[in-house]
Symmetry: C2
DNA sequence: TGTACATCAGTGAACGCGCGTTCACTGATGTAC
DNA sequence: TGTACATCAGTGAACGCGCGTTCACTGATGTAC
């Protein structure tokens, strides 16, 4: 990290700033990050970032954008077009959600806790919509064989799952409030969605 | 707000600072709050808060503490010792959770989004544990008549519900990410917990 | 292949700002006698 | 009831700090001919 540059030009400052931001956000939270500190970590003067970003907010938005892209990719990969079975694929998506939050906390925080506005940028909105679309598709194929009368809208189901996943991440996978929980985040999410799916009539035993 | 004081002494500066903090947190987020601004809103010099709090963090912790107390009271009241039925009481608790987050956003943010540490203060930890205890008791009485073999631990169930509630609040009841949702937060939480309870075997139809 | 020149991506100094915190102080209040 | 005095809860000035941002600048790179 922050090797002394050989040349006057950095080479890839834009991405270096993104990575410094990830590190800072992970260590100090969404507000502990400053443009000046990111520049410092990239081994560059405080004015340099302005060659690549309009300002602080645009840098965070870029981090969030990259986060949504990666998130979408991981969810797509986990879903794998619903193979081998819709239920197995759905479970994998849930696990992928939690794994993403744990392995990429900086991205997760930029996406969901930084106050970044999805309406601010078309690309951001698009990246976000794609990721959420995977969850909705997973819910849809899961319910394909339920009688229409007892089949709630797929978007609603994906929102339920999203809410529970996000709640587990925020309350139990991070440092603070629920910290002393007797169950791991993974167990909680797995058991929670299990009960939920039984309620939907998708699991019966 | 911030009436000119008549006297040299404020009278109730401590609580006035708490209220200014609530207002600031609500309007600008947990980090948009500053001690200096809170003092200004209370009509007092920037040094005055130090007569009542050691510093910024202690003021936020006090706001969180009051929040947990109020939260606990509201949940207790909603639960009402499980009357008229455990199921009805449980539903009321869920609605009370969401109502609290909406009606007292400043408290909610201080409690769950400010990074305040529960281990920092015994009183805080106690107030928090009491509020969560209500949810666990509600889950317990709800499951009292389930056969032991298919009855998950009450703490686990209350964590599931807590996670889903928190997720709904963060994603759909606040400004940003899920903003454009086709369902209200209330509907989402109601339908989500309904499906979950069916999965538990508490609702059957 | 060489050269002139435009453009790009940095620098470093400077700015104004608001914050958190400390300090010696002073006005107001409460209490002992 | 009056007075002396201790304590409490404010003031206001000052500090050091780091931030975001702008600006004229300069070294490095790319390109037309």
């Amino acid at each position: 990290m922050s090797e002394a540059r050989k040349s006057y030009h950095h080479g890839n400052l834009r991405q270096a700033l993104v990575e410094a931001t990830l590190k800072l956000i992970t260590e100090r939270g969404p507000q502990g990050f400053t443009l000046a500190e990111a520049a410092r970590q990239a081994g560059v003067s405080a004015a340099a970032p302005y060659r690549h970003f309009k300002g602080r907010d645009e840098l965070i938005a870029e981090v969030a954008r990259q986060g949504y892209l990666l998130f979408g990719d991981l969810l797509e990969h986990a879903y794998n077009e619903g193979k081998p079975t819709p239920l197995a694929a759905f479970s994998k998506v849930g696990r992928a959600y939690l794994a993403f939050a744990k392995r990429h906390p900086g991205h997760y925080i930029a996406m969901f806790e930084s106050g970044v506005s999805l309406t601010g940028s078309t690309e951001l909105a698009h990246a976000s919509a794609r990721a959420m679309g995977v969850m909705t598709r997973a819910a849809e194929s899961l319910m394909a064989h339920l009688p229409a009368s007892q089949r709630p809208p797929a978007v609603m189901v994906s929102h339920h799952i999203w809410a529970m996943s996000h709640g587990v991440v925020e309350l139990f996978a991070r440092g603070t409030p629920g910290g002393r929980a007797p169950f791991s985040p993974e167990d909680l999410l797995e058991s929670g969605t299990g009960i939920y799916l039984r309620g939907l009539g998708i699991i019966t035993d």
